[in-house]
Symmetry: D2
Subunit: 504 residues, 4 copies
């Protein structure tokens, strides 16, 4: 299902870049940032912002923000303004809260006693309400509803240390991390460095890459001496677009300093004793691009394993396996491989239909999702189909697709979902419909097959999902070192078990 259909969405993507070596750099930092952001566009299409710094003392920051896709928000003129940056951070956003749209657009930049800082944030602070009150009680007016401004002001109002020549930003970041346990992956730019920070639960992803000369991009032995710059991104899928090599993940709780001299781990803030990491399992299931790497494994591979597991847990007696294009395809291929059934395409997509204006209350509106898909009738007429979907959120999009297939001649249509039912809200950065809108909480869920018109519907179990996810990590751990000593994932939206107590 498409994001807009399912009603569930990631809230943001963050990306940063620091040119290595002597400055002014020859590296086109603004272009790297833009392309990096484009590769994260699936994490947010509402607005985009870039801030660059020349890294001088005092630094000159240049900023541009705009509504819509990166390609809309960053016209050539805007990029030209940003071109003198030697480092920069950027952000793409899914939805706004608060009262002024462009104002909520990140990165957030403020002047403090110790200079100008810029902050880009992916996630949602579980205790933001209490923190807002705290900040306002200190006498600060907050101009947006965004956590990014809140974080920025929290960093600013740490008891000032005027006695020091330079402000101790790292101390402030550590202080911030003791005030809020999760959820955040942060990029904080100050003058000539970027601090990349991941909350102690590692709820949102953050990876580091290394820019190498294009000519050496694929030479296995390219050493650090070739480094043209460092990048940091919500997802590693952005690295290839800009000619960067995957370097490593920022660890849960880690503060990493990225400067023109390289990458340096400054500190790892621990979780409370006994708490496991809580990396969002839906990044694997749904949000991330399939070519991204988390915890040492490719997202595509995890989805394929989910499909295999689903075939074991919920087999069907049908003629062919298919998919709702495009996100469920790896799971469908996994299901086909495990079950031995042929994989066949039954729908093709009309990429252009999305943005067309339709008058309300017309017969065309009744056609609904059918407008988005072409039916490959000859591939399944007279046959029994199992259709793999990656998730069913509100149940309103799969139903007309089933109808389409039946009318075009499918004799049976079975649905298998490569993730468990979503039942609980997320307070950590994912936009999920209200509890009442979720099909899994409705009375109709008891006979969901009947409700959506399928011959049968079955879901992957939570255990099945967790094992499909963690299986790949363990094998990775064997070969690697201490970095993933503990493994744990947030399944709150499926189980209602939140990684930290909610203080709302």
């Amino acid at each position: 299902m498409e994001f807009e259909e399912s009603g569930i969405g990631e809230e943001c993507g963050v990306f940063g870049c620091v040119a290595a070596g002597e400055w002014p750099t020859q590296l086109e930092v603004a272009q790297v940032l833009t392309l990096g952001l484009v590769a994260l566009q699936h994490r947010g299409q509402e607005s985009a912002g870039i801030v660059t710094s020349n890294g001088a003392s005092p630094p000159t920051y240049t900023s541009h923000k705009g509504m819509g896709l990166v390609s809309t928000a960053f016209a050539p003129e805007a990029l030209l303004q940003l071109r003198y940056g030697n480092l920069g951070i950027c952000h793409t956003r899914y939805s706004t809260t608060g009262f002024s749209e462009l104002q909520n657009c990140q990165p957030f930049v403020v002047d403090t006693l110790h200079g100008r800082i810029a902050v880009a944030h992916n996630g949602e602070l579980v205790n933001s309400r209490a923190l807002r009150k705290k900040v306002m009680r200190h006498g600060v007016g907050l101009s947006t509803g965004s956590d990014s401004e809140l974080i920025t002001q929290l960093l600013a109002l740490t008891p000032p240390m005027e006695e020091l020549d330079t402000p101790d930003w790292v101390a402030r970041i550590k202080n911030l991390m003791t005030e809020t346990p999760t959820s955040y992956s942060l990029l904080i730019m100050f003058k000539d460095v970027i601090y990349a920070v991941r909350d102690p639960y590692g709820n949102r992803p953050l990876s580091i890459g290394r820019l190498v000369p294009i000519s050496r991009l694929h030479s296995p032995g390219a050493g650090e001496e070739d480094t043209e710059g460092w990048v940091v991104s919500s997802e590693s899928c952005s690295f290839q677009s800009i000619g960067a090599k995957y370097y490593r993940e920022v660890l849960p709780g880690e503060i990493v300093q990225i400067s023109r001299f390289g990458v340096k781990s400054l500190s790892v803030i621990p979780r409370p004793e006994g708490d496991l990491p809580a990396f969002c399992i839906f990044e694997y299931v749904y949000f991330a691009r399939p070519d991204s790497i988390f915890e040492g494994q490719m997202v595509y591979t995890v989805r394929q394993r989910c499909g295999r597991q689903l075939a074991i847990e919920a087999p069907t007696d049908v003629d062919l396996v298919s998919t709702v294009p495009e996100s469920a395809t790896p799971a469908a291929l996994g299901y086909a491989q495990q079950s031995g059934l042929p994989y066949t395409e039954v729908l093709c997509k009309n990429r252009y239909v999305g943005r067309t204006f339709i008058q309300p209350n017309t017969r065309l509106r009744q056609l609904g999702v059918a407008k988005k898909f072409g039916v490959l009738t000859d591939n399944f007429a007279g046959k029994r189909v199992v259709l793999i979907d990656d998730s069913i959120v509100r149940g309103n999009t799969i139903s007309p697709i089933i109808k389409l297939l039946r009318e075009a001649g499918a004799t049976e249509v079975h649905i298998r979902v490569a993730s468990p039912p979503i039942k609980f809200p997320c307070y950590m950065g994912i936009n999920i419909p209200t509890k009442e809108e979720l099909i899994a909480n409705k009375p109709e869920f008891k006979d969901i097959a009947g409700y959506i018109g399928a011959d049968s519907v079955e879901y992957l179990t939570v255990e099945g999902l967790v094992s499909a996810v963690q299986e790949g990590i363990s094998s990775f751990q064997k070969e690697n070192v201490s970095s993933y000593k503990e493994v744990g994932h947030c399944t709150a939206c499926l189980t209602g078990k939140y990684p930290v107590e909610l203080e709302w």
Copy 2:
């Protein structure tokens, strides 16, 4: 390959709609036209135009044209203007010739002695140069370089028949068809009817559909009494988006009149004795949407057969079969089925990258096509891959993809192309790079595998392609009637054998 990459493109799509029954109609004709056009968007993204008529005596025509995608060109306000139409035709365009962009946008509308007509054209007149001269010699100034205006003026300057009360437009259309053998699929709107015309060689496609009530859309027995309107389209893929059922193709040489009273075949202009039809074989290979139906067979199925045939003609000893997403997927699945090799995805696509502004002469430009694809490394590292492509035109896009795969760990990369090499220009409506740009005409073609960096490259033969295409038709003919007594396809771009003598 994407159109923009390969440099080969369809020039147009046409679509029309007439509301059935009493007028003013309840059918939202302007909306049907817009959605129909959206479904043909892959045939032209440069500009779009709609003309509606209320069908009265004299008729009121309303017209809107705009640059860019249908969704851009038709803002809600534009649609509102068009809403009183009871019938209409529309057009989407790929590329312009001539000196004023919006002016070249179709449909072309003119006032004639006998009233206003509107014309939408897909194709390219082989003898347009001679016809332009003829028209100008008559004293007509031509304001665009488009064949559509030329056709309109040719229809207008037929020796006027002032003695008749109503002009004989059908006679004029027949007259036009004797003046130019190919290539055209035409929609001509006059007051309250649309004439749908296909050239005697049937070079460009044209299909008719029937709008039925949404509630009866999938009832097998819905008879003609339920008809809400008639539609006519370059491709049948548009019918599903608007709730129409496939009715039939317009035959080569046929003039069909579509009015609120129904569909009526007026005439079939014959080809010169001995000439076969010449339906463009590249509609199957590349241009058409996979869910469209030509000559009784689904395009997807033909592509799959091409893949199977390719596996027979050019087998490989590899570990997996894959595709350059997305257009070559049916051929890849066919190749996999025939060869017994597993089908595996090796690339995923970043949908957003296309429109980003890139500064010239930078390292990022060197990355080229790599920016568009994510590499699913774990799916093929350490393996031998055969990559199926639907065509190789200039050879400049497959090369970086092969490099990507090798660097990510593929031990061998073989290329199999599900169509023969393109060697000759098209003068019948397809935009093909110049002879010099076509890789098949370059010296490098002799060692194309070496040139593009593949372990081997093989193409489908012309015979293989033709048999894969025609195999499905014959079986169809057995069951059906006289309509496809003769079968023939234009393979001029592959063989240099043009269906008619070129008069350039």
Copy 3:
């Protein structure tokens, strides 16, 4: 009154430029054209178009058209496209007829048997209906409702003279002029020349200017050897903006050829015996910019004379003379000078109010024209005011102004109008409200002072206007030569006497 208020408007302005000397020229022709057009913007704000030619054999034409003001329609990119022109013509348009807006935008460019021509037209053909029929009877389809296309096709369909090496465009132009007596000022560009044509009645203005080096712009003795180019324009006010000197008017009926070698009068087509010229008298009263020169006199001076004449014909016993800013100011100053009354400003204008969106049916809408003016209360409170207006068309704008002044303390408000009442439609290029909308044709006109709330209302007489206009010409004629042997003006909208018989 503003155009939009009064509902009366000029339909077009035309402008052309040819670079002198060797080509490619150093003169920035596209910029000259744009600025020239800007200076004619008051003649049409709806759309603008420019066509340039490089003048080669065969020539390359470049064209750009757009909706709205010149500054909107001609973005920097558009100008860059046009920059290689050595000559060009352009057009700004007030209102469209016909069914497609941008399509009606001039200049109109067509390919003919003898090459490409471009036409820009100011005026309206009195016999356009008959001419359209004639052209269509010849078998030509007309794609717009504009006279410009009609003229272009009339030029094209003159019996072709294939035997000649070069087409005789001048013969075709003469032929056209015998077919339609008025109203037109035309610029016709063919390859490397512009033909500037004025109809035999001289109904619409057309003047020629000479571009000199900026440094020599004000040297009295700058001879023709300094010429950088030639310009031709609906009004001479455009010459100063581009650094051109006034050269002369195109005479009624004259065909002037402008090339890089200079200006050459080719022919003067005579009027029917006994007919006087019929230059539109409202160009003086209302349309033209005050710094333009017609028939040897400055428009401002004529307006001032109208004010003086009005003071003689319709004196008032008041304390001060004022004006509705800005177009009536010269008449008000003339009235003040003649009457000896002090000239005082009573209103100031808010330039920004025009384009603000106002919700319908609100109290703010009731405020009407008051939103547009600030009242300079202290200048007239407790005083008797005579307000000079240049014309009263529908009477709906002066009324709220009178109310404003009274409420702010004027003890009496008298209205004097510096032109006679408009009673008849114009068929020669001016957009006048329908007969029914004109206040002079309404029953209320009998007591117009009571109707609009004034203490008294008086108009200039037709004789007074004509003498104020012609007085300046006669004195000019004494000093000059044969060119204005006859003097005559069209007063059809005031008297119903049209210069030619109307063939509608």
Copy 4:
């Protein structure tokens, strides 16, 4: 001179409206705000913002901001969003400082411990640097360079008074006023009231108006019972556009509360003993619209008096008096009246030229200001002209105008300036070129007539200006009450005497 030419500009205009009586109001508050802002457009054309509140507990605020003119920034859709407001404030801005353009756009809205407030500011805090440091030292990050944010945060960080049920905003405002002496006119919206505040020196203007039913707008006896709402504005010129009557000025140092129950003066903060008010004298000379009323007198009248005074101080022996349109016209008329010389127009303006794109380094650029004006040659050829200007800032615009007039035949051109030379920077809200750019500080100033090409140049003296301004006030004071006990104006840009010590 136009603002853009002279390089001197006002930085802002503020406007507010509260609907009277029961809520929800029938008054279209968003429309009143928009039109009020349009009437202040001359004070700032760069960006515009509106914030409305429904006045409920807690209130819902709606906000829209945009770049450009009000008519551009407030599309119909934006206005629709704002329509449910019962009160609101708005702002138009001239120039930005800081790093993000739209972000600097006012009003500034923040959440505080005690609820959301919105602030619009006209002026510039003389001690903003120190105040910024103070705020940042408290631990607040400042996201813009604007004083508006600074003021908002200063209001927020007043030691919180949690013990109170409602926050004492008035105490906070008083506190703010003790921290910064000048320059500010402020509108502060909190829930259901607007606080209108003027600094103790009254440096920037602020006036209150009363909305009455349109039908009673001009009834002298319309009492407060008719009140539909209250408005507050930088200039009273905005009142007429929206159907409001002038009520009174906010006094220097006064805090006025405006609610649906009416207008209430809460407090007047005194100046330091011995300090006079310091209302910006350039509001009279240049910035304000001529129909605005300050200190009981119309701006137009003051300008006319300046012209008269100039005629006394600096007479000329010439044939006619004229003006550079349009702002110097009242002074020119005053000069003409005093001197007995005839007032004559010599230039007319091309309103459209401003926004046209001109390629750099061309002959057309050399034409400079000449493009903007038409020359009314016949009005002055062969005559001696005195041209009145309101100010000469950099001297680069008057020079080409003098040249234009000479070349067109003026035998002498004398310049008289209706204000003294500007020599010093303004730190209180006016954008003045740097000291080096001011012609009065350049060596050329010694022979300014020679430098700009005039026959003579003379300026009004500071004493002359001050007396022309204050003459009207004194007569007003005689008739009125205590409100203007003291009279004083800021002449810092002319004399270097600033009203308060500068703490930069």
